[in-house]
Every structure is written in C-alpha cells, then in structure tokens.
Symmetry: C7
Subunit: 91 residues, 7 copies
Amino acid sequence: MAELKGKILAGKVLVKPIIEEKTASGIIIPSSRKDDAFRGEVVLVGSALPDVPMEVSVGDIVVYEKKFVPELTIEGEEYLLLSQDNVLYIE
Amino acid sequence: MAELKGKILAGKVLVKPIIEEKTASGIIIPSSRKDDAFRGEVVLVGSALPDVPMEVSVGDIVVYEKKFVPELTIEGEEYLLLSQDNVLYIE
Amino acid sequence: MAELKGKILAGKVLVKPIIEEKTASGIIIPSSRKDDAFRGEVVLVGSALPDVPMEVSVGDIVVYEKKFVPELTIEGEEYLLLSQDNVLYIE
Amino acid sequence: MAELKGKILAGKVLVKPIIEEKTASGIIIPSSRKDDAFRGEVVLVGSALPDVPMEVSVGDIVVYEKKFVPELTIEGEEYLLLSQDNVLYIE
Amino acid sequence: MAELKGKILAGKVLVKPIIEEKTASGIIIPSSRKDDAFRGEVVLVGSALPDVPMEVSVGDIVVYEKKFVPELTIEGEEYLLLSQDNVLYIE
Amino acid sequence: MAELKGKILAGKVLVKPIIEEKTASGIIIPSSRKDDAFRGEVVLVGSALPDVPMEVSVGDIVVYEKKFVPELTIEGEEYLLLSQDNVLYIE
Amino acid sequence: MAELKGKILAGKVLVKPIIEEKTASGIIIPSSRKDDAFRGEVVLVGSALPDVPMEVSVGDIVVYEKKFVPELTIEGEEYLLLSQDNVLYIE
C-alpha cells in the first residue's frame, strides 16, 4: 500500500478496510451483529487530543464500529476516517 | 481460556460472559429485571481515563448492564466490550 | 446481614431496601408522592468521584429516590445500586 | 421545630414550607404567577459544591421555586429538598 | 425605593422594571420585537460566579430579555430575578 | 454616529447594521444564502470571556450571522447584540 | 487568487472550494457518498482555540465535510467558513 503524504487531525485514525472474513490470527470479523464490527489496517493517525492519549499506531490491525465515519477516496483507494473511540480492539 | 494478545482503549473492559445461573459464591445472575444484570469474567482492561481510575482487573468476576455494549468475536470466542461504568458489582 | 465481599465503583452506594413503614426514629418512608422516597441500609459504598466527596458510609440509613436504579441479587439477597445523588437524606 | 439529626448532600437545602401569606417583613409569597414562588425556613444545608459556595444558612427564610423538588416526611413533618439554585431570594 | 435587606445568589441580578417608554438619555425600550427588550433599575446583585465576573452594579439602568425570569413580590413591590446573561445593555 | 455611553457584557459585540449592498473594499454582503450573512460596524465590544480572547474591536466592519441575535434601539438607533461567534469575517 | 486583508476567528478555516474532480496528486474528491467530502484551498486560518492546536495552514489543500458551513462572498469570490473539525484530510 502506497504511503500517504497527507495528515489528519488530532484524535483521528485513518484505516484501510480489510474485506476478507478470517485471518491467520483467527479473528472472525463480524460479531453477532454482522454490520457492527469491522477490521482494517491503520494507515495514518492524528496527534493526541488533550487528556486522551493516542493509543493506536500506523500498521495496527484494528476492529472498529462504523458510526458517523466519513469515507474518503485518496489516490484511488478507499479509506475510512475514524475517531479513536470507534476503535473496539487493537489486535 | 487463551490469553488475548490484543489491546482495548482507556476506560474499557472486555468480558467473557458467564452463562450458567448459580455459582459457588451464591450469586444468582438475573436481578428482578431478568435482562438487566449479567455476569462475566474480565479478560482485558484498558488504561485509566483522566480522573477515572480503572477499578476492575483481569480475572475479576463482574456483574454488568448490557447498555450500548458491542459484541466481538475474537479467535472464535464471543466477548463483550463494556465501558467501566457498565460494571455494577465486582465479586 | 452477611457482609458482602465484593466492590462497587466510585460514586455508587449499594443499599438493602427497608420495607416496613414506620421506625423507632419516627421516619415515615413515603413522602406525599408515595412512589418517590424509600429507605434502606447502606451495605457498600464506592470511593469518591473527582470533586464529589463520598458523604455516605456503610451502616447509614438513607432515604433515596429510585431513578434509574438497577436492582441486584447477590447471595440470594435483593439490593439496589444507587448513585450518591439518588440519596435524599441520611438519618 | 425539633432539630433534625440527619444530613443532606452537598449543594442541597432542606426547607420547612411556610404556609401563611403575609409576614411581619411584608413579604407576600406568591408572585404574579401564584404557583412559582414559595417561602420556607431552612432547617438543614449541605456542604458547598466545588466552585459553588453554599450561600444559605440554617434559620434563613427563603423564597424558592418548586422545580424538581422532592418532598420528604421526617419525624411526621413535611419538608422539601431544594437544590441551592431553587432559592430565589434570602430574606 | 426602600433598600432591600435580603440577598440573592451568585450570578443573579434583581431589577425593578421601568414601565415608561422614553427617558432623558433617549433610550426607547422596546426593540423592533416589542416583547423582547425591557428596561429596569438594578436593586440587588449576587456575587460573581466562578470565571464570570459580575459586571452589573446596584443602581445601574439595564436593558434585559425576559427569558425564564421569575417574578418576585417583596414588601409589596414587583421585581424580576434575572441571570446576568439576561442583561443586554448597561446604560 | 454618536458614541454610546453604555456597556455590554463579556463576549458580546454590538453592531450597527450596514444596509447598502456593495462597498469600496468589494465586499458583497449576501452570500449565496441571502438571509445568512450581513455586514455591520462594531460600536461596542464586551471584555473577553475566560479562554476566549475578544478578537473584534470598535470600528471593525464585520460580516455576521443573525442567529439568536436580539435587536436593540438605543437613542433612536437600531443595533444588534451579537455573540462574538456570530462574527464570520472581520474586514 | 488575491490575498484577503481580513481576519477570521479562532478555530476557523476559510477555504476556496476546488471544483474540478481529479488532480495531479490523484485525489478523487467525492467519496462513496458524493455530497460528503469536498476539496478546497485554505486562504485564511484563525488562531488556535484553547487546548486545540490549529493544524491547518494557509495554502494547504484540504478535504472537508460541508456540515453547518456558512458561505461567504468576499470581493466577488465565493468562500466557505469551516470549523477546523470539518477538515477530514490535509493533502
């Protein structure tokens, strides 16, 4: 995946959604409510917000909720701009 | 239960729900409102939030409310991602 | 009443409801709005919240409101988990 | 009036409502909107809340609004549990 | 106007409404929306709230909005209990 | 325009609306949504609010939104009492 | 583009919308929800708000959301006045 040159704001996490269902580490994406939990790779993180450390790093594989999450097309690729608290689990 | 390698965010508590009704320590799960209080074992905790110490530890058995609690399937097991204030009682 | 081994979170108060109407100290439970004010004995208190000292102690008899108060069955006994601000009067 | 042995929480004011209409100091209770302003004697005050000094003292005669004000019967007497900001005027 | 002996809480302003329309300083009370702006003399002020200095003094003539403003009758006179932010202009 | 002798509260800005459409500096008032952006001259400013510096000065020409903006007639002139965040642009 | 002489308030970002769809750096504006993400050039920025550093600079090309964004015509040109958190991505 080409490294992005741009920046995102404090407290934000840009992920590249992972589509396939089951991976080596045994994570099955969809929880009992299929449309709630998704997986993706972190490609960009913003700085920390006051009092809220940034706990996610570029390269992490995360499970996240898609609540109020804008979609972005950058250099032909589709990304999702999460707030850190959309992240449920960092593998 | 296999130890999880991943992480969750500050203020969060990941529990493995306990299904059976009555246990050695005499706790009967369902309160008078059957669907309100549940029991589970804590498998992961996030760090403390500013001004809110993390009072729950891995291994605790907790009674909790299921309000806005996302379900997660990790390595084939079902978990619930609580916020600490979903925890009603730490046995 | 058996002493509880468990813990509750900061700012919380666990009470054992007192059912009978009139007691030695002359407190009549139900105020003019019968379903609003109740009495109970405090069996557990959480630690203080930031800026909000815990003003209630184990053993206090309190008059309280039942707004958003989850019920818990612990070791066969019924309890109510109050927030401190549900407490109207400490006898 | 018997002195109450109990306590109320920080920021609260317990009053004994005064029923008669006109008093020596000339205060006529009901403002143009009869059901809005009432008078009573302060019998108990809580401690100060953070950043909000307790400006009312036991024995003060106050004019107050009855918004979200629980009623309490203690030792056969009827009281109202105000928040300090229900108090409009301290005579 | 007899000086009032009582007190009001922090951040509050007690005014005696001025009824006549035009005064020496040329202030015409009612703005284009007749029922929105009124004039009155300040008879009592509370202390400052944390971070909000009290900018109004006894004796000031103020133009104010009547939003959520309780009316009080004290010693036979009608007053209005403003919050400071009801005050639009201090003449 | 006669200088006003009065005062307004912290964080407020009193403007004299400018009616004509186009001015020397080329500002055309109405944005694409005609009723949203207006121009006026600042005649009075309040002091700064805690953490919010007052960025507008008397004599500035500003473009502003008319959301919840009370109108005032002072000495026969019509003014608008803005909050600073109604100001969109300072020419 | 003529440099603007004016100022905007703390936390605000004034952009000149970019209309054409695809640019040299490969950014395709419209995300899957066509009306959500737009591109523009930053022509003015306000100072930082308390606790929220200003992360955008004049000359940046940004992708932004059009939520509650007033439009302004200045010197015959159309601009949008964003809050910094309308900015999704800084190229």
